[in-house]
């Protein structure tokens, strides 16, 4: 009798109970025991990840698939690195352009490949003629928002940056709010000087030194600060002004080139 009832129940489930209802019953069971089921399946997945099963695939195909999988993973890693790089560039540009007056400054982010010389008076960057980089353009630090040098040499895919402290560097500058301009000359050892400034101008220690505007660059950008200001020993009517860059070039890994109209080095 019990057997008959059991069979009847089985047949009802098989033929009369709609699929939806049977599915709901199974789902109700899965819902009621979701925690132990999830834990068990997690363990199962973990064990399968450790030793991935190979099913219905020949050894040769499996090897080819593994190779393709490795290549795809490498490509994915490269793409992720590129994406990260692009995000960082966007972030830098956003940070720079978010400052008042910088909205219209045409900037080209670049990475420092290597210092060109031992004294760290020059840098090599990964942007060149193909990126509209030209000799004479200003190069600045995205973090400190200060000019660190100018482009001194350019190739199709790279360029050389001459730092403001390089003895060969000469940049037209103005000091603080004084109506005075001069040429900032590099001296090496992370310093520069501004000669031929009359002592009638009130130059003080700590005054900012700005690079003069360029065609296409409508704002003044800080490049250094006065560290010492005393009358020149040979010409007492002139200041002997020593300055120091506002940016720590040694810790820089990325810079930005101001893509203005090219300027010949003075």
């Amino acid at each position: 009798m019990l057997f008959t009832w059991g069979m009847l129940a089985g047949l009802i489930f098989l033929f009369l109970v709609p699929k939806d209802l049977a599915g709901q019953l199974q789902l109700a069971y899965a819902r009621a025991f979701r925690w132990p089921l999830a834990a068990g399946r997690g363990l199962t997945l973990a064990s399968r990840t450790a030793t991935p099963p190979v099913q219905d695939v020949s050894r040769k195909d499996h090897k080819a698939l593994l190779t393709a999988y490795g290549q795809t993973r490498n490509e994915l890693a490269n793409l992720q690195a590129q994406l990260q790089e692009a995000h960082r560039t966007i972030e830098q540009l956003t940070k720079l352009r978010g400052r008042p007056g910088w909205e219209s400054v045409p900037l080209r982010p670049a990475a420092i490949i290597a210092p060109a010389d031992q004294a760290q008076n020059e840098l090599i960057i990964n942007r060149g003629q193909q990126d509209d980089v030209a000799v004479g353009q200003f190069v600045l630090s995205p973090d400190d928002h200060g000019i660190i040098g100018t482009i001194s040499d350019v190739s199709p895919k790279g360029a050389k940056v001459r730092l403001i402290t390089d003895p060969a560097s000469k940049i037209a500058v103005s000091i603080a709010d004084l109506h005075v301009s001069g040429l900032m000359e590099g001296r090496g050892n992370n310093t520069a000087r501004i000669p031929l400034i009359s002592t009638k101008h009130k130059v003080q220690k700590g005054d900012p030194v700005y690079a003069r505007k360029q065609p296409g660059l409508d704002i003044r950008i800080i490049t250094a600060r006065v560290t010492e200001c005393k009358p020149d020993a040979d010409s007492p009517l002139l200041w002997d002004i020593k300055v120091q860059p506002v940016c720590d070039v040694a810790n820089l890994s990325e810079i930005a080139v101001v893509i203005s109209a090219a300027r010949l080095p003075q």
Partner: protein, 173 residues
């Protein structure tokens, strides 16, 4: 028969079957031990016929609940019920004292229940995704290898110690 213990055992076995048994799969993902089949054989050969029939259908119901075929219930209730009842009726003929006999019984019942379930499934669903060879041969074989080792803890849990049963029977008769 301790029905509460039986319910706990069936629930635990069904949860383990649906979740953790995949970790023990070999060769292919569907070749894994069937705990509910082991339970079926255990209860069919160790219970009174009435209890064996009830247990077989209940275990079949649990097997259908955990079946990967969503929306299809019944094939295992029927197949487990039929072969569980048949096994219970053959208690006097089949000896399951030795592990090898237990294993052979599990394999045979597993193959038969899987075959019948497959046929019943075909009646309702036009195609099935399961591999017949895995269901009829490999899974019962795997269960048969594992089954004898599980019978001792199951007997302990269900308080179905043979010695006790013998003593009780001796007292009775």
């Amino acid at each position: 028969m301790h029905w509460f213990r039986f319910a706990v055992l069936v629930l635990v076995a069904s949860v383990l079957q649906a979740s953790l048994m995949g970790a023990l799969s070999i060769i292919r993902p569907d070749v894994k031990p069937d705990l509910l089949l082991i339970l079926l054989v255990f209860f069919a050969v160790r219970n009174k016929p009435t209890h064996a029939v009830i247990c077989s259908f209940i275990i079949g119901f649990a097997a259908d609940l955990t079946s990967p075929a969503v929306g299809l219930m019944g094939p295992r209730i029927i197949s487990f019920g039929v072969f569980g009842t048949l096994l219970s009726d053959l208690q006097g003929i089949i000896s399951t004292r030795r592990g090898i006999y237990q294993a052979a019984t599990i394999f045979l019942v597993g193959a038969l229940t899987a075959g019948l379930s497959y046929l019943l499934t075909l009646l309702r669903a036009e195609t099935t995704e399961v591999s017949l060879a895995a269901q009829v041969f490999w899974q019962p074989l795997y269960s048969a290898i594992l089954g004898p080792f599980l019978s001792l803890p199951m007997a302990w849990w269900m308080r179905m110690n043979r010695k006790n049963r013998g003593r009780r029977a001796g007292r009775r008769f």
